[in-house]
Symmetry: C2
Subunit: 248 residues, 2 copies
């Protein structure tokens, strides 16, 4: 989670307080530290992180721009309430966009892309989806490997605008998933990912797109249902043996 510790000279987002606060806030929301509907009070956040209101405010505005928070004029900021309707729309948007992007990738990807797909799939397949500490949810490492795999598959398309759109939708998906009752016990995400990799590297655009569509459809179906009642960051003991995460 806190990965800003030792970056020698890496990212362009260097030492700007607002950048760190933004990243922290974003991660906190994605991790579920704040429940949907919860107010994000600038003063509290500022005190917690020992910074002024201005930087928190800037971070909040950015987060709102990404759809990770709502802003109510003169009423402050809040984590968006879970909306089944919105989740289904996100899923549909992904089904509209990603198969088309995957086709482009398969048609255009070069050898470097192939290599990166292999690497990403390997890493994903070797990362445990669940670890004892992190409660009922899949591990942060797995979530990241999962994201990188899906993104790498699409990166062959070479279109940064489309990839930005993918990033945005992925983020929205992950947040929705975090607050959904996930219920896809028999789902075999590992197999689906392997089939995706194979079709992509075989340059079989039709199959790849079809598999991805199925993948996304299953995920959407799995997440349909009630916004669950879990209070907030309460690691209740897993009621059922942890299945594969519903993995798109």
């Amino acid at each position: 989670m806190d990965d800003q510790t030792n970056h020698a000279s890496a990212s362009p987002g260097k030492r700007m307080l607002s950048e760190q606060v933004y990243a922290h806030l974003r991660d906190a929301i994605m991790r579920g530290d704040h429940a949907p509907g919860d107010a994000l009070k600038p003063q509290d956040l500022a005190r917690e992180q020992g910074v002024s209101l201005a930087v928190v405010r800037e971070a909040l505005v950015r987060v709102v721009g990404e759809g990770l928070a709502d802003r109510l004029p003169n009423r402050g900021f809040a984590v968006p309430a879970y909306s089944d309707r919105r989740w289904q729309e996100i899923a549909e948007a992904r089904r509209t966009l990603e198969p088309a992007m995957l086709r482009m990738s398969v048609e255009r990807g070069d050898v470097d892309w192939e290599a990166r797909v292999r690497a990403a799939h390997h890493r994903l397949s070797r990362t445990p989806a669940y670890v004892p500490e992190e409660g009922e949810h899949y591990s942060g490492a797995w979530a990241e490997a999962h994201r990188v795999f899906h993104r790498t598959l699409l990166e062959g398309c070479g279109n940064l605008v489309l990839l930005e759109t993918f990033d945005r939708m992925w983020t929205a998906s992950e947040l929705a998933r975090r607050w959904s009752a996930h219920r896809n016990p028999g789902r075999d995400g590992v197999l689906e990912h392997r089939r995706l990799e194979e079709a992509a590297l075989a340059r079989d655009a039709d199959t790849a797109a079809e598999v991805l569509t199925q993948h996304l459809t299953q995920t959407a179906a799995g997440l349909t249902g009630d916004p669950h009642p879990e209070p907030a960051a309460a690691p209740s003991p897993a009621p059922a043996p942890a299945p594969q995460p519903d993995s798109a």
Copy 2:
């Protein structure tokens, strides 16, 4: 530009300074008041509009989030430099997304949608693309009618996430167009729009999608080329008799 004059109780963005400043800044960039590469200095903007740095800063952050400005850490904000590559990517992204959305619209749109499509097309067809005052560029009223027509066509899909994506890409397109040498003298945008309306209302998804794809492809082709050298808001006398704008 100032369209916040007489909204009885319409928009949620009520009286918040940052909102007004944001809208103003956004419009200014879209109108071309600031040339690509120009620095957007918070102090100047604050002085011009008689507000504090904080609100200008907030507006700038939002504008950056929309892709209408770049941020260089510790170096301030700037209007993004024109990039032919990026423009082509935007055009491709629109070709990827919009025909698919139009299909959904045609399949799902109800009578209300049909009525709004007719209304939007009527308004577009009756709005002059050029007016003497506004130099070589199409009028603000036409640009808005044009946007509303295209958006209305897609609104039948009923997917807010996809429509948000459309809005984002449309904005990027308009900015790119503003700073491109537009060169499509013989283009008949009026005809293309009428064909779009007809196919949509006839519920002919294939034809509608095809026409839209052509529309977008022609626009992209028309805008390919050099980032032109016009200094900044310098209304040079139109060198050629104004043709239809390259209209997607």
